[in-house]
Symmetry: C2
């Protein structure tokens, strides 16, 4: 089941995209910031309140046409624990609106600590006799540098619930090849080896649409590798960042999909959040601009996956 | 300057150790938990309050003999934003008591996002015309899988202030070799290559004791590699987890130090936090037990570095 509910949400909306909510203040319309500062001052609390308002507006405008949101933890942590509270509240709100929620935390640690991250982000924390979900997203992004110890505790939590993970395989940033493209013993780049590990870990979390609960992050900025990884990892669902602001176009992400047009979800963060700036529309209209961009992106992707 | 203040704190106390504050409730004496639950109920807020009390007791007992604390983010995130607030409060308290504070977050992301993490954990966040430190630790642990893009934004923040980073090179967990020991093009394991990258990044942050502001995490559980990395990375200061509960002994960490007996700081988390359980002393005496264990550990390390 793990990523099945994401796949079902994609089928329901006919839209394999995820809206990235990475709300640094620079991206927010002034009227939202002013209102929050008037309540809480020019403080982390004020910033966090603005972030939450901005997110709620976007979620309202997107929830019937975009199946999922991805929340980049860094943009909440930068506003302190108050920002992390806004992360928590945004997750809750998006879930209420029926969206699939991915926390983009790229967490990683040794086994005993990874159990704590798994409880924090996907499962529940034991407090006396209660089990309390701390953040409660549907999926978490994870870094593979520590090997299986950093993955298996998450798989255990995913198995008990409809949750999934996305392991970094080939990231979208320019320097990703410094480690990920290094050739290993058998002449293949490290990212291919990590992809194969995802396939193996995925055996522990089979899904009903052929894709396991262990997905992979593969950037739109490496279209050749994206297509190669799709061929070689038939059970691994892809989360694809790098479309739009980072340079990836529809043709670049074509190879992420299988012959049935599933197998991947494409992320756009700045493209959707900042559509109001690009359009030059009234700031009050930011959420509608995000919706228009999300619909444009849907058509753009549909044009290449048919 | 970056890690210079850590090195100075080690010299001042004559003790190259860092106390890990990874306070899951299981490690806390009942009397602390009961008091917090009586104030806030069996809630995340209650748990977070207990965690903070426990930490403050440990910091009071350790601050004159242990130069640094390392806070594992996972054990705060598992108690939700309330736990993250306790992380923030613990950092503040430890700094007030003169301790060097390392946030063990193993953060990693693309460049634009890494700027947000750098602001969040080491620098300050811009809110209107103010620059507000969100967490404000002295150092942060970082995962290298994304290459330079994930490191350089941190170096920029470190350069402006007396801050440092520790990059994961060879982690202490059993499965760390799955990626870190893979042989690369030139027949050397990946972790050696990452170590060499740390030396290069370190050129951007030179320190006055010969060690740069870019440190490396190298586990006590791999004594041979620890000694090899020490020889090959003369400018890179080591943060060494894995002593004690994970199996590393004093002989195993000997190789982490240079001929002058500096170059590394050894972490103990459960060993110090849970000393009261191992000793079997009264729970009310947990902080004194932690102090006794920290002094024992100091002697143990001194016996091998002379």
């Amino acid at each position: 089941m793990p990523l099945d509910s994401l796949i079902e949400a994609i089928k329901r909306t006919g839209n394999p995209t995820v809206a990235g909510l990475d709300p640094k203040l620079d991206y927010l319309p002034d009227f939202i910031i002013k209102e929050s500062f008037s309540k809480y001052g020019e403080t982390l609390e004020g910033a966090a309140d603005a972030v939450l308002s901005f997110n709620m507006g976007l979620i309202d405008a997107l929830c019937d046409i975009v199946p999922a949101v991805k929340l980049q933890a860094a943009y909440y942590e930068m506003y302190g624990w108050q920002g992390v509270r806004a992360l928590c509240q945004t997750i809750e709100y998006a879930k209420q609106k029926g969206m699939y929620v991915i926390t983009d935390g790229k967490r990683n640690d040794i086994g005993s600590t990874m159990k704590a991250y798994a409880a924090a982000h996907l499962g529940a924390t034991k407090v006396a006799d209660r089990e309390i979900p701390a953040f409660g997203a549907h999926a978490l992004t994870v870094n593979p540098y520590l090997g299986s110890d950093g993955i298996l505790p998450l798989i255990e939590v995913c198995r008990e619930s409809d949750k999934g993970i996305f392991v970094l395989v080939r990231t979208s940033n320019p320097s990703s090849g410094e480690l990920q493209d290094r050739l290993t013993e058998d002449g293949e780049p490290l990212c291919i080896k990590v992809g194969e590990m995802c396939e193996e870990w995925g055996r522990l979390l089979p899904g009903k649409y052929g894709y396991s609960g262990v997905g992979a992050v593969v950037g739109a900025t490496w279209p050749r590798q994206l297509a190669e990884l799709r061929r070689r990892l038939p059970r691994t669902f892809f989360l694809v960042p790098g479309y739009g602001a980072q340079g990836g176009a529809a043709d670049d992400i074509k190879g992420a999909f299988d012959k049935d047009g599933i197998g991947a979800v494409i992320n756009s963060s700045r493209g959707i959040m900042c559509a109001w700036k690009k359009e030059g529309c009234a700031p009050e209209d930011y959420a509608s601009a995000a919706r228009r961009e999300a619909l444009r992106m849907k058509e753009d992707i549909a044009s290449v996956i048919g």
